[in-house]
Symmetry: C2
Subunit: 601 residues, 2 copies
């Protein structure tokens, strides 16, 4: 089975045609991100992913991590060496600000490279995975001392960052947390409590681990309005920057999980550990959400990345495996059987994988562009528009993106038949690894509620109206080109379903909030179909334009057009069924008492 | 977490109201299956499942099987003792003919009990799982010597049976098999070849293992027309019934799999092993299909069973876990938070699980009834009708049933949030175990092709026309009852989608067979929705009748009505989207060359 291969050409097509990187180089922040430089970086990143990280993926899964009796964690063989190379290659610095040692490149580029790292080795990539998000939270809310003391080493990759939210009795409902922070005379706090499910909570790949921890100060208001955010280093940091004693934070155990075995998921015990508050007291959740939103975009990417990994394996298998004959007569009569590619149902699975992964790649990168534009766009109006649209679409990218990433991995596994179920081929690992993305950083149900309860109604629905307008403009443009007219019409229909669903919510959610809850998941999926469909129409138009102009690889451009048609014919129709589900309302969901769900005696 | 609990009350409701067991006791074969006897048997089976098999489920997963250097296989701790109890309890004999030591009970009853065994321990139940199907093949095609020599001990559970089809280079395309059978002077054959993915291929829980093996005789025609079926015992059987020498069949290795770790999936090496032909030379595939059709019904059941197991766990978790508040205001203000049951999106997941598992349970049992009616129905017309409908629906029960069983397990896992991803709660095992059901006994894509390519056009479409008529009659009856009218109308709409899809196939599949292949999967799912929807309408009407009559448990009957409404409002609408996918045709699937699927450089 060939190693994972980074889809650099597809990333570049999206960056050039959908993100429009070349058009942006006049904006500060994009100046150094010319197409040539970006391509060179991505090719180097892709090489590292396939040559260094990919061979360690099965190792991480099969050997996993071990917590030793002294509380240290042994990571899978080869991970330390790969991590050293990863850091030495500067891969942790791409997007970080130059004043802290970063390269100051757009986040869209960092996200593009991140896909390759996470696809080739999800468990590995999580060791440094949350550091960038932790840095963002510290830079946005932390004081100068914290910034100067911690950020440069986090940017360089010498230290890693983690996110400590969940406790045994609470995950989604963070208002219930029990971890306490006792103020000390020197301005620090003593943190005490237990956090669970902490990805990369303990390891020795980096010299230090900077934990960002939610806790409550004495007398803090009950619920989520009384939560503060703290920085708690594993190793104390002296004023000269050298490392001091081990802080009172230890790994109590590591979880046995369905997948991502390469990463240590830790129970972290804080026992009067020393920490410092980040931002204002009782405003910890807002600070954490800076981190969380960035992480959610990243998790959407992880879903697509595991899908891509599984899909690549399925394509190779379908090319090599000969079984049965084409329904229209033997394709290769001199061979004992035709390849799996002659079978329409195998192609259905592969086309579904292709349409979803390429579509989601465009959506994630276009989403990351919006994050850059919030900062770099020339006018306030453009910055606001970027903020609106990515606020709306972050839960969609996370929720729809990971649901579909998992579906893709399961479909790719199905292409293998029985061979997909055994460890040997590696595709079952992708399914297990992909599964976590639907759960962590807020389950996909929580994403749906965030979309419908917060993001949709914000500013009187300004963001979704902007989306409708954007789609309508694309549809009009797409209809004007004969080769893309049918795709544009399918998108128009899906958008009508989204509009109808939005209208239904406006009319029914106020009178009964449960109607919003009951509609949320289907609404998130319709939005995902429309947003990904919009990407496909744009890609189809760009491909057709290149065909007309005689630029680019014509086979690649034709494949884009066919795959866009697949999305239009085979995926967009789902929007109608989802809209009908919404219109059933909450009643049928809420009617039964909980006891009615128990197995009857 | 409470142990698995067999849903005996639900099974009994289905057996009484949908299968109509009481109405059938005049038929030979059903005479001894009175409702009281059946309930007593099921309660005993349910007890065995929860008390003996369920505690061994995690053991089987975590310890798994080991092939020893001498070729023997060590099964998980406790499995041998449980197997002995299983056999002593007579659980292998339920459906087997009385002349071979069986109890001669209807297969619908055996299938009902089988659900509990496979839900509580999928890996365990597979050790004896294929024995009944092997017995059916021997009884249908074997000569008297084979029947007398092998069947009684297989019925009693002293010996197990296996199914040996797949080879390293072929699974679906059995025409490619290379295993050879050399005729001997005494009428036996020497079998040589390698078979893979053999469930329970080697173990020492039973005294002997009777392998049913596909192989080719010298000079046999190429392809699937040259395959014969052989009986190859692990231990030779002397004429007095005692066991002789070890036959030349050995386990070469066992697979490392995603799930069902409790079962030994073996590579079996045949090296001039002695075997006997079952049925006619070159007619082995037909003989194997007797076995396969029975097994496919059983696999559909396995899908639903793993779904049920996961769903039960999710219900308990949702009752205990408190997180957040009801959108309509705190449900239990004195508690720190409300239970997960207040959240509409959690209820969406649980209702989806409930609607699918209960609906599929009815469909599988009603399907098993048809198998009984082929044998026992009083008129030739009824026997033919039963054969028609179950031939049509076997691939649907296998394909739709296992797709949805897996979906249910994944949804139930999602209810747990992060806790669903760790081993501790057991639900992730159900997801991994359920995944195989979509693959083995013919992948679900193969089921879809069987439905569209073979079952649908057979006898000029007689079976599907009978289904349409059956649904139309139910719809008319359902509309006449005010409480079920809306459900009947939703079923009518779904049935119209199925009719439209059937019409599309008639008009488009002849001119281009790829259109049939491209439509097959979606067609299988629409058929699954309609067939399961028909079950829900029948259950709703039966529940309403009991409510009107004041019989039965009114809470249970009301829950049936609400769950039927859920199926109508939230699942049936999918039929429309599936029909639209079909109408896209094969073109978009077949257009790209295989190279276009490779990652572009």
């Amino acid at each position: 089975m060939p190693s994972y291969k980074a889809p650099v050409a597809d990333t570049m097509f999206i960056l050039n045609e959908i993100v429009g990187l070349e058009r942006l180089t006049n904006n500060p922040g994009f100046a150094s991100a010319t197409s040539d430089i970006v391509q060179a970086i991505l090719e180097e990143g892709g090489k590292f992913a396939s040559e260094v990280l990919s061979p360690l993926n099965a190792v991480g899964d099969q050997i996993g991590c071990k917590r030793n009796d002294d509380g240290t964690v042994t990571t899978p063989p080869g991970f330390q060496e790969a991590f050293d190379q990863f850091v030495a290659g500067g891969w942790t610095t791409l997007h970080a600000p130059e004043e802290y040692g970063g390269q100051g490149l757009p986040i869209v580029l960092a996200i593009a490279a991140e896909e390759y790292f996470t696809a080739s080795n999800h468990g590995f990539n999580m060791y440094h995975g949350l550091t960038g998000a932790a840095v963002s939270a510290i830079l946005a809310k932390g004081d100068d001392t914290l910034k100067q003391k911690y950020v440069p080493n986090m940017v360089s990759g010498q230290w890693c960052g983690t996110m400590n939210l969940t406790e045994p009795h609470c995950g989604t409902d963070l208002g219930l947390i029990k971890t306490r922070a006792q103020p000390q005379d020197d301005g620090s706090y003593k943190i005490t409590g237990t956090k669970i499910f902490i990805s990369a909570g303990e390891h020795s790949m980096a010299e230090n681990i900077i934990h960002l921890v939610l806790a409550k100060t004495p007398g803090a208001p009950a619920g989520s309005k009384g939560i503060s955010l703290f920085l708690v280093p594993k190793m104390m940091v002296n004023d000269d920057g050298s490392l001091g004693a081990h802080n009172a934070v230890t790994c109590g155990s590591i979880e046995h999980k369905m997948g991502i075995h390469g990463n240590a998921t830790c129970v972290m015990n804080y026992d009067d550990a020393t920490g410092w508050m980040i931002g204002e007291e009782n405003k910890g959740l807002a600070a954490m959400f800076i981190m969380m939103n960035q992480a959610r975009l990243g998790v959407g990417l992880q879903g697509l990345a595991q899908g891509e990994l599984a899909y690549q394996q399925a394509v190779h298998y379908a090319m090599d495996r000969r079984q049965g004959r084409a329904l229209t007569g033997a394709a290769e009569p001199d061979k004992p059987a035709d390849t799996l590619f002659v079978h329409p149902d195998v192609r259905r699975m592969l086309m579904e994988c292709k349409a979803l992964t390429e579509g989601l790649r465009a959506l994630v990168l276009w989403g990351a562009l919006q994050v850059d534009l919030i900062k770099y766009a020339p006018t306030e109006e453009e910055r606001q528009a970027a903020d609106d649209i990515i606020s709306l679409l972050t839960p969609v990218i996370k929720g729809y993106g990971t649901d579909k990433g998992f579906d893709v991995a399961v479909l790719a596994q199905q292409v293998f038949g029985g061979h997909g179920y055994i460890r040997e081929w590696g595709v079952e690992q992708a399914v297990r690894d992909a599964r976590i993305t639907m759960i962590y950083e807020g389950t996909n149900g929580v994403q749906a509620m965030d979309l419908v309860g917060r993001k949709l109604p914000a500013n009187g629905g300004r963001a979704v109206r902007a989306l409708f307008k954007m789609v309508a403009q694309d549809v009009a443009a797409g209809k004007a080109v004969p080769e893309t007219a049918a795709i544009a019409e399918a998108l128009e229909k899906a958008n009508q379903q989204l509009q109808a669903a939005t209208m239904w919510l406006m009319q029914n959610a106020m009178q009964n909030p449960n109607n919003a809850g009951a509609a949320a998941y289907a609404y998130m999926h319709i939005t995902g179909i429309v947003a990904t469909g919009m990407m496909w129409l744009r890609m189809a138009m760009a491909a057709q334009a290149q065909l007309n102009a005689g630029t680019g690889n014509p086979d690649y451009m034709k494949a884009k057009l066919v795959t866009a048609r697949y999305f239009a014919e085979r995926i967009m129709p789902e929007a109608g069924a989802l809209r009908r589900k919404i219109e059933g309302g909450a009643e049928v969901l809420m009617e039964l008492p909980p006891e009615a769900f128990l197995t009857a005696a």
